[in-house]
Symmetry: C2
Subunit: 355 residues, 2 copies
């Protein structure tokens, strides 16, 4: 277990210089966040093209120290780009991403359009940077709740093997983009005026409420699409079709960071101190676990930050143990949905691409 | 399994006539709710004494069609009562409840003071009405999250045996009483004015946030007191010290109804149709599980109602199965914390007492 206990070596490559970069969906919640992440991480870009739907074309956005006019996405608008970020709907990605990749651009797609395609790498840079092959042009960004989960859990998977995870999420409305954010703002204002709760965007009122993730439920399995993504994407990213996951995906009235309550079953038992040491040194993880001060991961603490916060680290005494080594561990984690769950992960993927 | 599959017979006894009834903690969130429950359930009471701390003494409260002056709790104020509800702190219960019971009153204690005492029955009327013996005078009301869990899960425990439960909660601020309710109201108003989040009562900001339950954490186990209660109280109520529970207790910005994401491991496998049939006929349960309409239990749907709502009923394919029978099932449940989680359960306990 010695080799497995050292955290994954950070990818040596970190490309931050690009010629022409296009951002499709620049005016949306993830697109705007991505512009901030590019600046924060010091990306130097020859020409930045901000693209969006016809509805947003003509608006102006500040980015990387200049103001840019937003243009409508089209094949012509993507021509000659070295890198294209897709932060719009899966339909937009399906229409434009393959052509952009065929035309020679690197494409990092934040939508769900190609995540399941066997030929498309699905990448969390802290987890599987090696999944990007030398001829890959189109790389998919995983779903937000899967990224946040795997940044926290992969160090334990590498060391001990994760056999099964029971995951209950506390997901922010930002996962539904600007309409979700607007709905929570509007309904919170209505709540503070003592108006009766009324759904403005989600199937249920979002302020003062908790509800099952709004994605459709498969009538055969009873799982909703968000839950199925967590299962399918984890298996693909880990390259392990045997890992078992029981997810329950739930929205809470929080703006932009998800939490997840995670109960793990390991293949080999671990001591609590080993688990803590691995998490303390894991890339992209910050341990927040102060029992005396009652300071644990919260969405407000995670929002705006780069790291996935991990706390409530404890052996699960409801599972088998071997002396002071436990097969079960529990964690509570939180990560910014717009950043590590979307924009930041996409930029980190681009940093892995050959220069 | 045939006998086990029929739901528990409702207790035949339902006492609603009382001589003198005292309510300690009448001005608090649970006390006020209890007055409403007494009226709703048609209790007829000879003399109603509303008692509270010295701070609240002298205020007036409407109850059962009349206005009552609130008096300070004391041994004298409890003298001659046939029934005393304690809806104040554990300290107040410790000071006054045993003496009231020794003086001949029935005592239903909503605090945690006596829940663990072997001589004190801990009762959820739908689950273990028979726990009240003929000489019992003091009966403890379980913790809110335990009551709501057991109303939903006990029918499955009776039929198939529950071996293990992984439970993640989404708990309303009402569990912390009026200070919790006031904090969420105040912080929601501040949030809608775009003020920076600031905790006003809980260790973390409650509006726009999610945080681990504020009860103290045991440094040895890593469990907080709320989680330990769920384990200890379930074992006592079921009379089964072997049931294993992995709880994670979390507060969400919701006023008065808890949700719980529950992943069960059964001792004997069950078909989904059997599970659904048991829950559809279970006392105190209402199944809300419309996949097409995306209608599942929510705190807003549970608030103000008598029932524990149960939905997202699905086999857990991450656990072993035997053909079409599964050892694992998942549920998402919601119940009103102030009602079934506290006041309503206490009144239902009183209805079990001999006339």
């Amino acid at each position: 277990m010695t080799a497995a206990q050292s955290p994954a070596a950070p990818a040596a490559r970190r490309r931050t210089e690009w010629g022409t970069v296009a951002l499709v969906g620049a005016t949306g919640a993830v697109g705007r966040e991505l512009l901030g992440v590019l600046a924060q991480r010091g990306h130097r870009i020859g020409e930045l093209r901000l693209l969006a739907s016809a509805r947003s074309a003509g608006s102006r956005l500040p980015a990387l120290g200049a103001e840019h006019e937003v243009r409508e996405v089209s094949r012509e608008a993507l021509a000659g780009a070295a890198l294209v970020y897709f932060c719009a709907s899966a339909d937009v990605s399906r229409e434009f991403a393959p052509a952009a990749a065929e035309a020679g651009a690197y494409v990092v797609d934040n939508s769900s359009a190609f995540r399941a395609a066997p030929s498309v790498p699905l990448v969390v840079p802290e987890v599987n940077p090696g999944a990007i092959g030398p001829s890959d042009r189109l790389i998919a960004n995983p779903n937000c709740s899967t990224i946040i989960l795997l940044v926290a859990v992969t160090p334990l998977h590498r060391a001990f093997g994760v056999d099964r995870m029971v995951v209950s999420t506390y997901q922010a409305v930002s996962g539904a983009g600007d309409p979700g954010l607007d709905a929570l703002r509007e309904e919170t204002a209505a709540l503070s005026r003592n108006e009766p709760p009324r759904p403005t965007f989600f199937p249920e009122p979002c302020a003062g409420n908790v509800f099952i993730h709004e994605s459709p439920t498969d009538p055969a399995t009873g799982r909703n699409a968000e839950e199925q993504k967590m299962i399918d994407e984890t298996r693909k990213i880990w390259g392990d079709a045997t890992v078992r996951i029981a997810p329950t995906c739930v929205r809470v009235p929080v703006m932009r960071a998800h939490c997840e309550s995670v109960c793990l079953t390991l293949r080999e038992p671990a001591a609590e101190a080993e688990v803590r040491r691995l998490l303390a040194h894991a890339p992209g993880v910050r341990v927040v676990d102060d029992r005396a001060a009652r300071a644990f991961p919260t969405p407000l603490r995670a929002a705006g930050g780069d790291d996935v916060l991990v706390g409530r680290i404890r052996p699960d005494e409801s599972q088998p143990r071997d002396g002071e080594r436990f097969f079960g561990f529990e964690l509570f984690i939180s990560g910014d949905q717009l950043r590590k769950g979307a924009a930041q992960n996409a930029v980190q993927v681009a940093e892995l691409l050959p220069g």
